[in-house]
């Protein structure tokens, strides 16, 4: 839980809760003869934790990579809706944008295999999360005193709030490569939060964690969503967590969307039960 009030909002967008944030329409992604995603369509609503689940190789990570621009789907559209401070709406076609442009629109992400800057400290990693909000002039950087130094200090304040939120104080100056796996995952979440995202994409944030670490991480994700009001798209294998914390769930199987709805609706879907437990099994998903 947040123990004190923070000065900065970690949420970047100004879209009212309940409006469409991300529209994925008929997205199809092929690698040679392999179809990783086949006409996948669903909508992510502002304010939700939206889980994407499915067996291994279902195309979950590919979908996330399409949203963040690392892959470009051959067919279909992915549109991000944003609102500026005045309240006027903008629509961005993500399928034709480079990843760094998508990040500038407020889409932040974490990776399945931790992709941190290992040689750098936690602080530097988080400060890099502020990259899109900083101005980078070669001359000012080399002169240091003046705008460059003021900027470092100004952005440090938000970074410190993220450190406080994720309880990373003790490891602030440690090189990321020397930290425990679970802490690295938390640093990666923190780096994404430092972007002040309007949409946060988390690719298996709890993979390889023990029960206690999972609970912690679930708590952090809930804090981010409920208190900072950041919308989250979450890929996760642990059904308990998914059913517990998400507002909506989309289920992929072999690149096809087989269910999309609230956790309760999805759990009752026969296609989902079949994908997870195989056909002719009478049991439901154990929660």
């Amino acid at each position: 839980m947040l123990t004190r009030s923070y000065k900065h909002s970690l949420r970047g967008g100004h879209l009212p809760a309940g409006e469409a944030l991300l529209d994925i329409e008929e997205a199809t992604l092929r690698f040679g003869g392999v179809t990783a995603l086949s006409e996948v369509s669903f909508r992510v609503t502002e304010g939700d934790i939206h889980a994407v689940i499915g067996p291994n190789g279902a195309g979950k990570s590919s979908l996330l990579n399409c949203i963040s621009g690392l892959y470009h789907p051959q067919e279909g559209r992915i549109r991000l809706h944003t609102a500026d401070e005045a309240g006027s709406r903008h629509e961005h076609a993500l399928t034709s944008l480079a990843p760094h442009r998508i990040a500038r629109l407020g889409v932040a992400r974490s990776f399945q295999n931790i992709e941190l800057f290992h040689a750098m400290s936690v602080l530097d990693n988080l400060m890099l999360g502020r990259h899109i909000h900083m101005r980078h002039s070669v001359m000012q950087s080399m002169l240091w005193f003046g705008p460059a130094r003021r900027q470092e200090i100004a952005h440090r304040q938000l970074v410190e709030e993220v450190i406080d939120l994720l309880q990373l104080q003790a490891v602030r100056t440690k090189p990321v490569g020397s930290l425990a796996y679970g802490v690295q995952k938390r640093v990666e979440l923190g780096r994404a939060l430092c972007l002040q995202p309007s949409l946060l994409l988390l690719d298996e944030p709890m993979a390889g964690m023990n029960a206690e670490e999972k609970e912690d991480m679930a708590r952090y994700i809930l804090d981010v969503n409920e208190l900072a009001k950041v919308s989250v798209v979450l890929i996760e294998h642990d059904m308990n967590v998914v059913m517990d914390i998400s507002h909506r769930v989309s289920v992929l199987d072999f690149g096809v969307l087989i269910a999309d709805g609230t956790p309760a609706e999805v759990m009752a879907e026969p296609a989902v039960i079949e994908a997870y437990l195989g056909a002719e099994d009478e049991g439901a998903i154990h929660v």
Binding site: D124, M134, H136, S137, M142, E152
Partner: protein, 354 residues
């Protein structure tokens, strides 16, 4: 700020962002300053010329380390980019007649532009493949400066006038080295300070982000292509400055000074000194510039017992260079800078091991 047995504890962000925190660090800086100030009065002209060569090498090595050590873009084009700085500065000053400072600034900007151009393959290539592409740039520039007779007006070399800045002209033999020492010291210090500054700002961090994880860098909004080209530009700017200073200091420019050997020598400097460390580039520049001198002295001292050392001096020199690089890669890949850090830690924790 408080420095206690448990570490350094800062109370403000400003104090944390300072390059030096403890009293002993300021003391060492003071000691170094005093040393640099008395150096020209205690050394004779020969050794002062060695120091001047070190100062030029410091500028070049810091420039190269920005690109190779901090941004992870291996470059074998160092000699070529130095040549661009040297030739352009010489031609700007002597043929076009620009004042020397303007000629050097022009040379720095031109080297940065040429470096950026030859950095374009870096947008697609990584690691060894980029090394080969920059090797090509070295070969192309070397070819141009050897064959383009307009550059040297058919002489094969360019003569450069005595260095002159704002009416002050570097004097004759007796004071030549000493006056150059002050010029080079100021420029080398400015280079080191601006490089240190660069890597405590967001721009420098984005260089390191591209080096460590370019996909993650893109995902947090770093324009990787732009960062790589910026790194090439800044790096070649410094390298061009080193080239221009070589031209004005030695007062003659010819292609033999900017061959592939030079590129490899500078790579050796930053490997021996420490990749991704400004101080390391300085240590490496000192080490690799003094090494041939040390080898020569040793060979002379042992010429009676081992005469082949003096007879085969160039070969012995090359072999020692190779041996030094191999030893560093095996024993301490992070170079002299890391050795210095470890020594400091050893003293700090003594009598405990850690």
């Amino acid at each position: 700020m408080a420095a206690t047995a448990t570490g350094i504890h800062h109370r403000t962000y400003v104090s944390e962002l300072r390059l030096r925190a403890t009293r002993s660090e300021y003391f060492r800086l003071g000691l170094l300053t005093v040393l640099l100030l008395v150096l020209p009065f205690v050394l004779d002209n020969y050794w002062l010329s060695q120091v001047n060569l070190i100062l030029i090498a410091v500028i070049g090595a810091v420039g190269l380390n920005i690109l190779v050590g901090y941004t992870g873009q291996i470059s074998l084009g160092q000699g070529g980019f130095m040549a661009v700085g040297a030739y352009s500065s010489a031609i700007f000053a002597d043929r076009i007649g620009l004042p020397t400072p303007l000629a050097i600034i022009g040379a720095v900007l031109l080297s940065a532009a040429v470096g950026t151009f030859f950095g374009l393959p870096g947008l697609r290539l990584k690691g060894l493949y980029l090394a080969i592409a920059t090797l090509a740039s070295q070969m192309i520039i070397e070819f141009v400066i050897r064959r383009w007779s307009w550059l040297t007006e058919g002489q094969g070399y360019v003569n450069v006038d005595r260095f002159e800045v704002f009416g002050f002209k570097v004097g004759a033999r007796a004071v030549f080295e000493q006056q150059w020492y002050w010029i080079l010291l100021i420029l080398a210090a400015l280079t080191v300070i601006s490089a240190r500054n660069l890597f405590r700002t967001g721009l420098g961090r984005s260089f390191m982000a591209v080096r460590d994880q370019d996909i993650a860098a893109e995902a947090i909004g770093v324009n990787v292509a732009r960062v790589k080209l910026t790194a090439f530009a800044i790096s070649s700017g410094f390298v061009g400055l080193a080239g221009a200073l070589t031209a004005h200091y030695s007062e003659v420019v010819s292609w033999e000074k900017f061959t592939l050997d030079v590129s490899i020598l500078y790579l050796a400097m930053i490997i021996v000194g420490g990749l991704g460390s400004i101080a390391g580039a300085v240590y490496g520049a000192i080490f690799m510039t003094l090494l041939p001198e040390v080898i020569r002295q040793v060979a002379n001292a042992m010429s009676s017992s081992l005469p082949f050392l003096t007879d085969q001096l160039p070969a012995v020199r090359n072999a020692t260079f190779g041996l030094v690089i191999i030893l560093f890669l095996i024993i301490e890949p992070r170079g002299l800078d890391r050795i210095w850090q470890r020594m400091k830690e050893y003293i700090r924790f003594w009598p405990f091991r850690y």
